[in-house]
């Protein structure tokens, strides 16, 4: 039964990704502005234009172009960027680590902050503290990452300039790493200069992405904690002499966490979607920033590659969340 669930979900994931490929391909082809004429210097001859058009395959019919592109993608060939003149997969995979590090950092902050607020709220339930925390998290939740980013730029860029407001790492640092995971590889190699520089560049964008999710986690986890805290086994723990805080941390938290995690998985994909504008705002050299440049420059192969990568990331995360939830929750295993 579990196997069938996995198979059906894999199949729908594949269909979704194919749909994304069709939509993005159609969109970039109907976009006005000829990318070829933007590449050539003014005064290029008709032959030059025709030759370059043929080189990128733009002279073929749309379905034919689509087949060529999809055929390449399946073999791992995403085409060549028009503006940067490098293979799309190299460019995209070169930027992916920056976006992943940022997203994971944001997720960690959101889990820690949201978890802390939820535990405090559950500990202080039915008091003014809980009402205050509820109101605050409600307000924090409704402000999107873009606005948090701007607020942080003003606070820590101007009012109290302790953090860098643009870039990913201090450009003066000499980084000869094997991967582009500057933060993680820096940790492993013990290059603390790189670690602290990436961290201070990452903190503000990560906080901007994390705050709405933290507020959501705080609300939901507190709700679940309060439900669990009314059940017999927590009463038993109290009778056995555990303090309220240790009842929450030792007994209630693990049971309240499961339904929260299911939501966090889906929200994590929204968080990754948010990196596009937040990276732009902080001039952080990740995928999203590259994507906006690609759209402005009409770099069709690059746009297609980045959108497809994001879509793959989203659907795979959703798939993993669904499967792990099915796996962790015995009641759903036959569903």
């Amino acid at each position: 039964m579990l196997l069938k669930t996995v198979f059906v979900r894999l199949l729908t994931t594949a269909i979704t990704l194919f749909g994304v490929a069709v939509v993005v391909f159609t969109l970039v082809r109907v976009a006005p502005g000829n990318p070829i004429s933007m590449m050539l210097p003014p005064g290029a001859t008709e032959e030059d234009i025709a030759a370059l058009t043929a080189l990128y395959g733009f002279d073929k019919s749309l379905p034919h172009q689509f087949m060529i592109w999809i055929g390449g993608v399946i073999q791992g060939d995403f085409g060549t960027s028009i503006t940067l003149r490098q293979p799309v997969d190299e460019l995209v995979l070169g930027r992916l680590p920056a976006t992943l590090e940022l997203s994971l950092m944001a997720l960690l902050i959101a889990l820690a902050l949201g978890g802390l607020v939820a535990v405090i709220g559950a500990r202080k339930r039915s008091t003014g503290t809980e009402v205050g925390l509820d109101l605050t998290s409600g307000a924090v939740l409704s402000i999107p990452d873009f606005l948090w980013g701007l607020i942080f730029v003003l606070l820590f860029g101007v009012l109290w300039p302790v953090l860098s407001i643009s870039g990913r790492v201090d450009p003066r640092l000499d980084i000869d790493f094997t991967t582009n995971f500057y933060f993680f590889e820096g940790l492993l190699r013990g290059r603390w200069d790189v670690v602290s520089s990436t961290f201070s560049h990452m903190l503000m964008p990560a906080m901007s992405l994390a705050l709405p999710l933290a507020a959501m986690i705080a609300q939901l986890l507190k709700q679940n904690l309060k439900e669990v805290l009314n059940q017999d086994y927590t009463t038993l723990a109290r009778v056995r002499g555990f303090s309220e805080t240790s009842v929450i941390l030792r007994e209630a938290l693990q049971n309240a966490a499961l339904p929260t995690l299911a939501l966090v998985g889906v929200q994590f994909t929204f968080l990754i979607g948010g990196t596009v504008i937040v990276e732009r705002l902080f001039a952080y050299e990740g995928l999203g920033n590259m994507a906006i440049d690609a759209v402005i420059n009409r770099d069709l192969p690059l746009i297609q590659g980045i959108v497809l990568l994001f879509a793959a990331l989203f659907t795979v995360i959703n798939l993993l969340v669904d499967l792990s939830y099915t796996f962790l929750n015995p009641r759903l295993r036959n569903g």
């Binding site: 990704l17 409704s142 606005l147 979607g273 504008i277 994507a291 759209v295 009409r298 994001f310 989203f314």
Partner: protein, 287 residues
């Protein structure tokens, strides 16, 4: 629950009302500012004066009495641009939210009520749409259909319809199981008539609550597109283009960023609080 309805504790009662009245107060202020912009704005929002560039706001030394909130790098009055910006913000939020709501709710009603292939196709489309990063999708769409306010509105509707479709589809499915739907059908009503006159009124509260939320989102999307220079031309007074300019000049004239940011913040918070409040107001379980 029943007790709370009849004798609400005074504290809760107040907070609940403030949650509706404070957002409404801000939105009404915006509407008045937008409608009477030529009266309230002390200057022409487009008038440049290079002699008066980057004047600070009134509470900082070196300000000019005529420019309460200072001027930007081209000497344009920040307050006047914000007041005119309210026009564009409100226009986009209302038109975009209604277009999105009508489009998405229609698809949600059809998928939820007719089921079968309708539901399969629409749900698959929702899945595909949700696999796009929304900001990138918006940037791409506006690049395809051209910049300008109409494109921004069109892009919002074309991207965010899934928010309505998902919620309304689920609610329609619940309503379609109810006895009153069966009795309408037995009474001889046709399917389309049942959908419009029986089910639609029952999902309308959710649509209205979502509309309020969507208005807040639309203002943000316009600001984001202005920020990447894809909304209307950067001369026009939108909060987004002011923010974009302020981000660039942050070390010389931070007030160009601060004041439109406050306006945007309050507007988004108001619409979303209003949406949440309406949802609770309509929902008998949460009430």
């Amino acid at each position: 629950m029943v007790d709370a309805t009849y004798s609400p504790r005074p504290m809760r009662f107040k907070i609940r009302n403030l949650r509706l009245w404070l957002p409404l107060l801000w939105i009404v202020t915006l509407i008045i500012a937008a409608v009477f912009a030529p009266i309230f704005a002390p200057h022409d929002p487009l008038a440049q004066d290079l002699m008066l560039e980057r004047l600070p706001p009134f509470f900082i030394d070196g300000s000019e009495p005529g420019h309460l909130l200072g001027t930007d790098s081209l000497g344009r009055d920040v307050l006047s641009r914000m007041i005119y910006g309210a026009r564009i913000a409100l226009f986009v939020s209302v038109i975009a939210a209604f277009s999105t709501g009508i489009f998405g709710s229609t698809l949600g009603l059809i998928a939820g009520y007719y089921g079968g292939w309708w539901d399969r196709v629409i749900s698959r489309l929702v899945d595909i749409w949700m696999a796009f990063p929304p900001v990138l999708f918006a940037v791409l769409l506006v690049a395809v259909i051209g910049t300008g306010l109409t494109s921004v509105i069109f892009a919002i509707a074309l991207i965010d319809w899934t928010r309505f479709a998902r919620v309304i589809r689920a609610e329609t499915m619940v309503q379609a199981q109810m006895d009153y739907v069966d009795s309408a059908r037995i009474g001889g009503a046709r399917r389309m008539a049942t959908l419009l006159s029986e089910i639609l009124p029952n999902v309308l509260p959710s649509i209205i609550a979502l509309l309020a939320l969507e208005m807040g989102i639309a203002v943000i999307v316009e600001a984001i597109l202005s920020f990447v220079n894809l909304s209307i031309s950067s001369d026009d007074p939108t909060w987004g283009s002011m923010i974009s300019e302020g981000r660039g000049a942050i070390h010389f004239a931070w007030w160009v960023l601060l004041f439109p940011l406050i306006a945007l913040f309050l507007t988004v918070l108001s619409f979303s609080t209003l949406g949440e409040g309406l949802k609770k107001q309509f929902d008998p379980v949460l009430k």
